[in-house]
């Protein structure tokens, strides 16, 4: 292993962690194209590496979110049962697909995510969510509360439509296992818009879940021999640093402009990934 390659891996991981943290997406959507296009890592190994980065960012942030009471642990445990099930399906499915097919699917997902990113600003509720659920769960089972330092208030909420969230969680898990992305892009809007969970708690609960979800499919990739340990180690260490740096700079950026800028970059990268899938990208 050369110092040049190590520097490239650390830098790739750092960039993915930084962008992922700034945009609240997790680093997976960035680390896969960087590894495939810039480092020349095979797609399945890039997805496996991305899953490890997702585990690293999730574990690194989740302990703080649990400590502060932002993560709704009971809701997370209930939903991760379904994300793990989906991740097993996604990881198994990925093993049956060729690298170029997986790259094409990833590029399509990037296009969808970039469009959502450009147009979709997630609403941030600060009120207690109304209980308009037809779900027959007891009202206090998944209830949450946390002290919000930005509003200097205790936020109390009652998540609703848990069964629908479980169904969507299995889809998020499948995407995670198939493409190595965290699944937060689907989980957070679901928790906020459908379940009435405040944004801060939704992001923390999603982050709490994606580590375990990532492990379910990472075990499949590991056992299948898709891991490139040296590449993964460099990228994971870079992501550790990048996500910390991202948390520091995120508050100083203009969110709407940043999202549109990254959406444009992601569309460009998606096009490059499609060229790679077709074999028209230099090896």
């Amino acid at each position: 292993m050369t110092i040049g390659l190590l520097a490239l891996l650390l830098l790739s991981g750092f960039a993915a962690g930084l962008f992922g943290s700034v945009l609240g997406l997790g680093g997976g959507i960035f680390i896969v194209p960087i590894l495939v296009l810039a480092v020349g890592v095979p797609m399945h190994s890039a997805v496996a590496t991305s899953l490890l980065c997702v585990i690293a960012t999730s574990s690194g942030a989740a302990w703080k979110n649990i400590h502060r009471g932002f993560a709704n642990v009971r809701l997370g445990v209930s939903l991760e049962l379904w994300t793990v099930l989906g991740a097993i399906a996604g990881g198994s499915l990925a093993g049956r697909l060729s690298g170029s097919t997986l790259i094409a699917i990833f590029a399509a997902a990037m296009v969808v995510i970039s469009i959502l990113m450009a147009h979709g600003e997630v609403e941030i509720p600060t009120e207690v969510a109304p209980d308009d659920s037809e779900d027959d769960e007891p009202v206090d089972r998944f209830a949450g509360r946390f002290w919000d330092p930005s509003s200097h208030d205790t936020i109390v909420y009652q998540p609703v439509r848990i069964r629908l969230a479980m169904a969507i969680s299995s889809l998020a898990g499948t995407l995670s296992g198939l493409l190595g992305i965290g699944g937060g892009i689907l989980q957070v809007p679901t928790l906020v818009k459908l379940c009435g969970v405040p944004m801060k708690a939704a992001a923390a609960t999603s982050n709490f879940m994606i580590g375990v979800t990532g492990v379910a499919s990472a075990l499949i990739y590991y056992t299948r021999g898709d891991f490139a340990p040296v590449v993964a180690a460099g990228a994971v260490l870079g992501v550790f640093g990048g996500s910390r740096a991202g948390a520091l700079v995120a508050g100083h950026l203009r969110p709407a402009l940043t999202r549109r800028l990254f959406a444009a970059v992601m569309l460009l990268v998606a096009a490059q990934m499609l060229l790679k899938a077709k074999g028209w990208w230099p090896a």
């Binding site: 390659l5 490890l52 990881g91 109390v156 375990v212 075990l219 490139a228």
Partner: protein, 115 residues
Amino acid sequence: MVAGVRRGDFAAAAWVLRGGVVLSAILLGLGLADAIVAPDPVPEMDPGGLAEAFRDLPRMRTGAMIHLGLFVLMLTPIARVVAVGIELASRRETTFVLMCVGVLFLLGLSFWIAR
């Protein structure tokens, strides 16, 4: 009455996550440093295996430390599920304990499927 998560709840799970992240980062950092200075080049794309990593670790073979770091990283969320399950069991929240057991069962299943 709201039975939500309060600040300070699930402290053991939080410490498991923090410890796992720190330990894996140290192991990966040492492993990469070892790979840089090793006289024999370490193949970047060689997948290797977990059994091989444990076999090589006592001999301090280059690359084993990286495998161990990745193993600790993957073990961290699993240990978190166990820690959450234990705390929920101590509160006799049977439904959520069963969900934790279900998650652990599925993780075991994923390993079995891949074999």
